[in-house]
Symmetry: C2
């Protein structure tokens, strides 16, 4: 199945390194969300990724892998998202690791299933920013320049503003929505209630709800209301 992400308004991001009960996983997968992104910054392995995929595959929800570790590239996902960290100070997060992976798998990859994501990571205190050595002291104009690189130089289908762990500047996010023409704008970070989900959904094309799934499932599920998705499990 080739998934069309352009209709995605809301997705959950699940971390293979974190624990989720079967009951909670079922509530997430049958929530009406448009998709599940599997991915995380640390502790992601082939085994825990396979395991999570197999559990999600009991349900009909589209499931895509955000590839962050060469050792955790598991076949069987609907799509593979490849992060390119545009504000990293280390080229290995822009092209280096990608080249290593492609050196190994490039000849057998199905490029129809691969989407590049132009990432900008903006919370300096996050694992993601530390791991990728991201330059987080940027202003709206800097992020806008990255958005244009993603769309016009690299022709990426996704531009992803990641505040990982904290709720970001929605005025900045809205500005990127005005700057981008065709590239789809993902926003992730700190969406832990309905109000924040509403603000983020008004600014970005697609909102990504992550950590709150593990901290407060009911609050996580309430983020679906604001994008007009039915919570099928309660029908």
């Amino acid at each position: 199945m080739i998934v069309d992400i352009t209709s995605w308004k809301h997705v959950f991001k699940l971390d293979p390194d974190k624990t989720l009960s079967d009951e909670h996983l079922e509530r997430i997968c049958t929530s009406g969300t448009h998709g599940i992104i599997v991915g995380g910054s640390t502790g992601v392995t082939y085994d825990n990724t396979v395991d999570l995929l197999a559990r999600i595959r009991q349900f009909e929800v589209p499931c895509v892998l955000e590839v962050s570790h060469r050792d955790a590239i598991v076949p069987g996902f609907d799509l593979y998202l490849i992060p390119v960290v545009l504000n990293s100070k280390d080229p290995k997060w822009i092209v280096g690791q990608h080249a290593e992976v492609l050196k190994e798998y490039g000849a057998i990859m199905d490029w129809e299933e691969v989407l590049a994501e132009g990432y900008v990571i903006l919370n300096p205190d996050s694992d993601a920013a530390r791991l990728t050595n991201a330059e987080t002291t940027v202003d709206v104009q800097d992020v806008e320049a990255y958005a244009r690189i993603a769309e016009h130089l690299f022709h990426m289908p996704i531009f992803y503003i990641e505040y990982s762990g904290t709720f970001g500047d929605m005025e900045l996010v809205r500005q990127m929505r005005r700057t981008l023409r065709n590239t789809q704008l993902f926003y992730g970070g700190g969406i832990d209630n309905q109000e924040k989900a509403q603000a983020a959904a008004a600014a970005a094309d697609t909102i990504v709800v992550g950590n709150i799934v593990y901290d407060d499932l009911d609050a996580a599920l309430q983020t679906l209301y604001v994008v007009g998705l039915e919570r099928k499990q309660y029908v």
Copy 2:
């Protein structure tokens, strides 16, 4: 005029920082070459770029700017090629300088006139490699991985193998031609006679003839024979 580069087999690259007589410039511009790329690694300024453009514009040959300095972005070229040095160890040559330029000009750019080039610079002793801190100790598989990044992750119209100043490994270039599907393969470096032009033209889609223009114009013009271009000036 929007130039279609896909038919380009042969181009000359002229350096604004080097001296060329009017007679020699005329012979180049009326040679039958498919285009002139204006660009250089060092000493390129707004003034010497404007000057060279104005002189080339006396002739009908397509003329494009390879942007390498933010201060030397001159309006009036047919196209703007933006180098992205995929094997640079410094992110400023991959996205950093691009972001700086786009921060200033992004809102007014005509993206129809802009083409990104995925560059791999392979001669460690060249100005270009030193300037960009290029990782030149790479094998065929590494370069193939960069080619796939250029084509499939970044959707670039051009992949450019640059041996700047020395004639490269044509077996490697041929392998990239086999790896790429739609992205156009440029080869530049050390083409200073007909035999090398023939070998390069058999391996790449487009050959770029540079330095020899300044050292031996007759030899430079002979590189046109091998790609079946008429030397109009002698008709």
